[in-house]
């Protein structure tokens, strides 16, 4: 456990406004990237990022340093994103009965071959098409660089599930990018 995290959390809990701003400056940028890629809309991402930090402000009293402060914030962010997406999906389901389930089997190309150079734009578009669970695991692992042990903690799943979700995401991206 990083002592700096505990000290910063303690300063925030004591009502030090500068400390809370420091916490925001340290983590907001990475969290915003993650949240934006999870929900796809800049407006919704801004609202969710705001909510992440308001929740953090309210819940800092409960931060005991079992995980790094960054991991703790990612967990708050991911819970909010997944709740948000579930709510959005429920609305969509009510509106359109015939939507396919996100986990429906994707037709697999016989031998997908990803082009040697993947454009960032193509990759961003392909990531948007991933189911929420594997998108979360993929973003945390391949974009943010977390280990499966940390992803398991953030998403509240086992390491095996994290590995399996990242694998599924890569397989689907492989198919999407080779089209």
């Amino acid at each position: 456990m990083r002592t700096a995290d505990l000290e910063l959390a303690a300063r925030c809990r004591a009502g030090d406004a500068d400390a809370f701003e420091e916490l925001y400056r340290q983590h907001a940028r990475r969290l915003y990237g993650l949240v934006l890629r999870m929900v796809g809309s800049p407006e919704e991402a801004e609202d969710l990022l705001q909510e992440v930090f308001l929740q953090a402000y309210r819940k800092l009293a409960g931060f005991r340093g079992e995980s790094a402060l960054g991991t703790w914030l990612y967990r708050l962010a991911m819970n909010l994103c997944l709740d948000h997406l579930r709510g959005r999906r429920a609305k969509m389901s009510r509106a359109t009965e015939s939507l396919d389930h996100e986990d429906a089997a994707e037709p697999v190309a016989p031998a997908p071959v990803v082009p040697p150079a993947i454009s960032r734009m193509d990759l961003e578009r392909a990531i948007e098409k991933l189911p929420a669970g594997s998108r979360a695991a993929f973003l945390l692992h391949d974009v943010e660089g977390f280990e499966h042990r940390e992803i398991a903690e953030i998403l509240g799943v086992t390491e095996g599930t994290s590995k399996s979700q990242v694998h599924k995401a890569r397989m689907k991206l492989r198919t999407l990018l080779s089209r």
Binding site: A28, V114, I118, F138, H167
Partner: protein, 208 residues
């Protein structure tokens, strides 16, 4: 060839973990070689994705929402004071009823007289407390944000007006229980406001 048994180790292999059994399989399996190459490309591209910057308005909104919290709590102080005063008054009235002789004129006298007498020492007691707190609050005043200071100042002006009006009413009608309650309510609110000023100033100084 059943390559799927290697799905999990394939991921580990991309992440840099060695697995001799898988490596032997990989050397002979074109399908797994293609998957490994594609996964490596995907992972490489993912690690170069740009980090979008959150607009400054997000922090502005977070900071405003956090600043708002103490003000919202602060707005409840007079109501809480009023509620506790109402309880005190109700309790005093009940005690007066319980201890009073049965005759109606005597009851009225019992309630009116102690209230009238009690108002003076209580009033003086509050004045002492307020004078002490006012000194502390004046000393902390410079440490407060201008916007917080303005809000506190306006609230104090409102309370001071209520104190002046209640005292004017009691000057003409000393037994007026409504005016007595209003005065005690206003004095209590002033104590709470000054206490808040001192607390906020102290917290601000500690943070500097």
């Amino acid at each position: 060839m059943n390559c799927h048994i290697y799905d999990e180790v394939l991921g580990d292999y991309i992440d840099g973990m060695r697995n001799l059994e898988f490596e032997r399989h990989l050397a002979a399996c074109a399908r797994c070689q293609a998957v490994v190459a594609d996964f490596a490309r995907i992972r490489g591209a993912a690690s170069t994705l740009e980090e979008p910057i959150p607009p400054p308005r997000v922090w502005a909104r977070v900071a405003a929402a956090i600043d708002e919290k103490p003000k919202r709590a602060f707005a409840w102080v007079p109501m809480a004071v009023a509620a506790s005063l109402a309880l005190l008054v109700a309790g005093a009235t009940w005690l007066a009823w319980r201890e009073a002789p049965p005759a109606a004129p005597q009851i009225a006298q019992q309630i009116a007289v102690p209230a009238d007498e009690a108002a003076v020492p209580a009033d003086a007691h509050y004045d002492d407390a307020i004078a002490g707190l006012q000194q502390l609050a004046d000393a902390q005043d410079a440490a407060l944000d201008p916007s917080t200071r303005d809000v506190l100042q306006k609230n104090l002006e409102v309370v001071d007006r209520a104190i002046t009006e209640s005292r004017a009413a009691l000057a003409t009608e000393p037994a007026n229980t409504v005016a007595q309650e209003s005065l005690l309510d206003a004095l209590d609110t002033k104590v709470a406001l000054l206490q808040d000023t001192v607390d906020l100033g102290t917290a601000k100084e500690l943070n500097q």
